[in-house]
Symmetry: C2
Subunit: 424 residues, 2 copies
Amino acid sequence: MTDSIDREALAAARESARPRYEEFSSSGLKLDITRGKPCTAQLDLAEDLLVALKPGDHSTEAEGDLRNYGGAAKGVLALREMFSPLVDVPADQLVARDNSSLSLMHFCVASSFFRALPGGEKPWAGEEVVFLAPAPGYDRHFSVCEELGVQLRTVAMTPEGPDMDEVERLVAEDARIKGIWCVPKYSNPTGITFSDEVVRRLAEMPTAAPDFRIYWDNAYAIHHVRAQHDRLASILDACAKAGNEDRAFVFASTSKVTFAGGGVSFFGSSQANVAWFLARDSMRSIGPDKVNQLRHVRFFGDTAGVEAHMEKHREILEPKFDAVATALDADLTPLGIASWSDPNGGYFVSLDVVPGTARRIVQLAKDAGVALTPAGATFPGGDDPEDRNIRIAPSYPTTEELDTALQVLTTCVILAAGEALLDA
Amino acid sequence: MTDSIDREALAAARESARPRYEEFSSSGLKLDITRGKPCTAQLDLAEDLLVALKPGDHSTEAEGDLRNYGGAAKGVLALREMFSPLVDVPADQLVARDNSSLSLMHFCVASSFFRALPGGEKPWAGEEVVFLAPAPGYDRHFSVCEELGVQLRTVAMTPEGPDMDEVERLVAEDARIKGIWCVPKYSNPTGITFSDEVVRRLAEMPTAAPDFRIYWDNAYAIHHVRAQHDRLASILDACAKAGNEDRAFVFASTSKVTFAGGGVSFFGSSQANVAWFLARDSMRSIGPDKVNQLRHVRFFGDTAGVEAHMEKHREILEPKFDAVATALDADLTPLGIASWSDPNGGYFVSLDVVPGTARRIVQLAKDAGVALTPAGATFPGGDDPEDRNIRIAPSYPTTEELDTALQVLTTCVILAAGEALLDA
């Protein structure tokens, strides 16, 4: 956002926005750009996953008959080997599980209350526990903490990652701080990738809590939008090098690779943490859905197959991100009333509007038939202190729907900016 | 077990058992009858599950595109309707989830520490919590409690179910008792089915804890071994009738119907409990593997299809249970040194030997190359106070392997009985 807003231009833009808004409002729109859902064309890319296994194809040399109980405590080896380079975790330290990586994060936080983590003196039960929440961030991370009684302490996000000066200060002095949420690559929602220096500082920083954990949700590890890919340093390598090898829990999934409602997930960490995880997990389940894991192995073939598959996703996503950039640039750049991200990957564009207008914009859009992520959702407690961040999820709608939704959105941004800056 | 053991006959049997044991020991056996795993022929019954979905078959009218996030908070409706009559839970109160019902039980116990149950005043965190453990019972139930710091209080199992006089007395006076583990049909390991009176008394009994829950693990609801099926009264109906409609959590799965390593699971309860469960579950996952749920719908077709499928399992299992009954009867009945179950369903035969000899028998069998479930495993803490119960799992081995394993077993029972009764 430029510092100098052109008030005259804004006034003129508002005049033309008003009838446009009325027209949208009366045309019965029902559009949704709230969540990072793959579109049908993306899901169709993995359609052959449905028939990846033929009768008789249900065993591996390493595990035996995958239809039965047991035999693969860490999950199917071939799958772990296939994804190991993609999530930057040695296969031996990588555990493959079911559909949802979020549920693995929830399980790790919850289990920490019952069983001491490696390095920890005792379980967290009865203690006041705080997690750092770089914000704007992923609302479901914050919800896990709220569900389990973990307090959230907001820290600022920068273009390089969390504000490390603040993070280092807080974790050094406060032993109640037991974790930090990170979406380190193509971050949700800002789209940035943590710099090597941020990764190094997270790994090296002294923490008052001996069982402090980085929840490294590498949700978009291979989810590129542009031909130019971001590169993320290995958190496990950095932690090991710093002598804090048990510090990071790595998570990933194929929810936006194959099927959001039928993929596989991953947990990766140090040997000690993996042993801790498996000990906890073995108390609740005799094993993951190994058949679906084999299905993924057969579908992709090898690591290069996964990468080729993600290139097809990219080809679908790039025009949608182009559409967002184009619309925002055309309608808002001349007015200087907003700024936004143009990430190389991930699922979101993060839009910063005139402070105090985000809620109003979401309401205006809703009244015109366009559902946006609730303003503030990217902050702990749903509370954006400046009321300025809006998360745009362009993947799910068709190009036509997206274009209309963006027109509605920029119209609402202009109207709300007018109210705030011209009427005040 | 008869009261009068024929010591002379035992002495003679021991003499012939000794060379037999030596022969087994030197023949390099490697047999395993430890766990209730389906055999390959049983798994093959569901092989077409692998190809139950064709490209393009990924949607339902009720839920839309199952490959994507969302749309089926309770799981796929058609699957819930299909299994509703089989697990005796109205479809609207039945939730379908992933691979493991044990993990749903773990999740319910763990979540109770963070979020108050319907009827409860507060979460269990910081409280001393006790579950009743009818024993012999299922070791993994006990492990869930040990993992989560829940104490176990053993109560006796009778041929009708838990000793209800004891259960009623304990839950009425002790508010720390928050739950009871039940495998109500073809119980693990004794094979009995709870009588209507036991179900009624469980539903009606006053409990000191307002948030007491029956963990009703109906793992073998449709897992018949004999043409004669046991019938189990509806726990949800009984609880509703007694005015305790939030008392029971029902669990079931297709682990021993389709694939142990790739099935679906169920949670059923009152509307209030289902709302509680879904509120908790929605904080950890955007939804279950709906694609695998549809796969099950297509594979079975309808409820009758599930029942027809289970009849094929029965045809495989019945000869194995016959083999156990025949071998135990031939070798042990004349000596009066053991008694055992001959259940109409489930996965186990429960063998009671001369008190004080169960551990010895398991060790002797192990030394001869036959793995049995560790003695005591069916009791909390692995401690069978009389050291007399052995769980036999006949499903997994081939008939030939099973016959050999049974010969080894009865030989060891005779040797250990001889040591205990003749050498003492």
